[in-house]
Amino acid sequence: MSRSFLGMPAFPRAAAVSTRDTRLRANLAHATHTIRDKRARAVAELDDWAQLRAAGAAIKDRTLRHLDHYLEQLEESVVAAGGRVHWAADADEANRIVARLVRETGEREVVKVKSMATQEIGLNEALADAGIRAYETDLAELIVQLGDDLPSHILVPAIHRNRAEIRDVFRREMGKWGRPAPEGLSDSPAELAEAARLHLREKFLTAKVGISGANFMVAESGTLVVVESEGNGRMCLTLPETLISVVGIEKTVPTWQDLEVFLQLLPRSSTAERMNPYTTTWTGTTDGDGPRTFHLVLLDNGRTDTLADTVGRQALRCIRCSACLNVCPVYERAGGHAYGSPYPGPIGAILTPQLRGVAGPLEQSLPYASSLCGACYEVCPVAIDIPEVLVHLRERVVEGGPVTRHGARVVLKPAKGHAAERAAMRAAAWAFDHPGALRGGMRLAARTRRLHPRRLPGPGRAWSDTRALPAVPAESFRDWWQRTRGGAAGPERGGRT
């Protein structure tokens, strides 16, 4: 993957383009509605879903509140089981560690299991710079990699592509990376999956180094868990001699028993299955079975900064199921690329600005990429109140305030470009707190209502381009009440008038 999310425009600009892409809109509407209904059915099968959800949130909160303890316990357990643990404060450090570990094996090629953490740090590009070729083996990641594309969904990175587009990519590109697509490849999903099987089998059978992320890390036992469907995960986790797993520190859970909650929550929320086809768990190395060398790279890269925010912290509960993307009306119409990060959708809108900070225009726009409809919170299996965090981050953008960046406490200035809005908001708040002045303005508006334009200039165009302006009635409710029942209401108790 040579393309990256660097330098992406702010969300509204990207979305203004993507919402006009009718094929993208059709692909996304079809896919998200398919999975949305399936998820609802899979969740409805369990009458204790609310209790599982509460337990999932509580386990993650317990871990986060004592993350130092659990990370040290995890490290000790992994080392005791024959693994090696590396710590990376940021993306560059993680990439350097992985490149060094690969070089030490003498290999120049690696096979990869789909991993959000390695997308986040841009590992493939960093490995390419180090002369190492990384082969993505998840079907959707393969589609993205072959198409020189960017992922647009957490679970299904190529969700923006339909079957005909995927067939075209396979026919055109597979031969450049290895075994070409079969002659006469059609766009049936079964044939496309078969083409991927044949193309990748050669890579699996010869790979000496595998790179993965993990869905969970059990602190008490040092066990890592990878949840998948296709078997590419099992290939990468068991066939190579060396396995390198890059995992965000927040993926820790305290106990083996805790998995009983997440192995119920995750598959039903994610692929809408009772259980995903394959789950692999491993603890360090096992004599005679699987990789002989196991490295765990624990990744911070903004997670501790997120942890420092007592409201924003809940975003670290995320188990990357993508249920929030699939129900989000904004994601469905704007598509994943508009979010300018491997983490799109509602969770991306709260994760990206926290992991990266809100200094850039994209990161400042993301908390506003939501109508606050709350569908994301409703489906979140670990009860992340995404609307709450969105509003919290909006405040950080427009008001600034104390935050943690790279581990240091700093005071953020209000973002530029919000001056007019800030003045308008303050004026409105002042007027609403001075109803006497407000009433005067309302009466003026009512008297001049015949003169009001039908379309607004400037920023107001955003409203009036597609919607008729509401007409200002001749008489406000307040004045009607005063006229018809004046005096009966008693004194104004609001204070100033």
């Binding site: 509580a58 999903p189 296709e230 078997g231 259980m275 789950t279 007592t310 943690t404």
Partner: protein
């Protein structure tokens, strides 16, 4: 200062709001979710396992212990399998009626060697009815993880009812985290094309499950 120290120091600073006296297991975790969904007799649990396995396109067969060798023989013959890899601890009687060349699970074999093998026959550690899941833990009748991954045809034998549990919460205590585990729910699948499920990608594309036990010869869900 090592990166380990940097990250751990950042974590501790970030958690300044956590009261000093609070221990790692103090934040409460409500565990009022169900251990089992519904009440079932052991027979009903096995039936649910069969239904859920079949729902995810596993082929389910049932037989009495005495019938197992002939059933396995028939399944391998129907598949046209000539070579079958088996774990070291597999009961040799299971393949006694199969007309195949048996390949032992050896450390020296490469993945490419396994790729040339037609089928694999194993037992399992536990099966989960509510999710239609088989769990392999590398025990003597299950072997190295790769033998159930590379061949395209997997026959997995489940002893009913003692290897069958109702639910995920019942399965985990029966499994050791120290062993490498593979949880299998149907043949490999993908939803990566238009979020539509297609069975059969990299793992075995055909998964046959034999539920073997006294009285199990009646009926069959597959």
């Amino acid at each position: 200062m090592s990166s380990r120290d940097v990250v751990l120091a950042r974590v501790r600073r970030a958690l300044a709001d956590v009261p000093r006296g609070e221990g790692p297991y103090d934040p409460p975790v409500p565990r009022d979710y169900r251990r089992v969904h519904g009440t079932r007799t052991p027979e009903e649990t096995v039936e649910l396992l069969a239904v859920n396995l079949a729902d995810y396109r596993a082929l389910v067969h049932r037989c009495a212990p005495a019938e197992l060798p002939s059933l396995i023989g028939r399944l391998l013959a129907a598949r046209g399998a000539r070579t079958v890899v088996v774990p070291p601890g597999l009961d040799p009687r299971w393949l006694s009626a199969a007309d195949v060349s048996v390949v032992p699970d050896r450390a020296a074999d490469t993945a490419r060697d396994l790729d040339a093998v037609d089928s694999v026959v194993t037992g399992c550690a536990v099966a989960v009815a509510e999710t239609g899941t088989l769990v392999l833990d590398g025990g003597p009748d299950q072997g190295r993880r790769r033998i159930t991954l590379v061949p395209d045809h997997h026959v997995c034998v489940v002893r009913v009812a003692d290897q069958v549990v109702d639910s995920v919460p019942q399965a985990l205590p029966r499994l050791s985290p120290r062993r490498p585990l593979t949880w299998i729910s149907g043949p490999s699948a993908t939803s990566d094309i238009e979020l539509d499920r297609v069975e059969g990608v990299h793992g075995p594309r055909t998964l046959e499950v034999v539920l073997v036990g006294a009285g199990a010869e009646h009926g069959g869900a597959g």
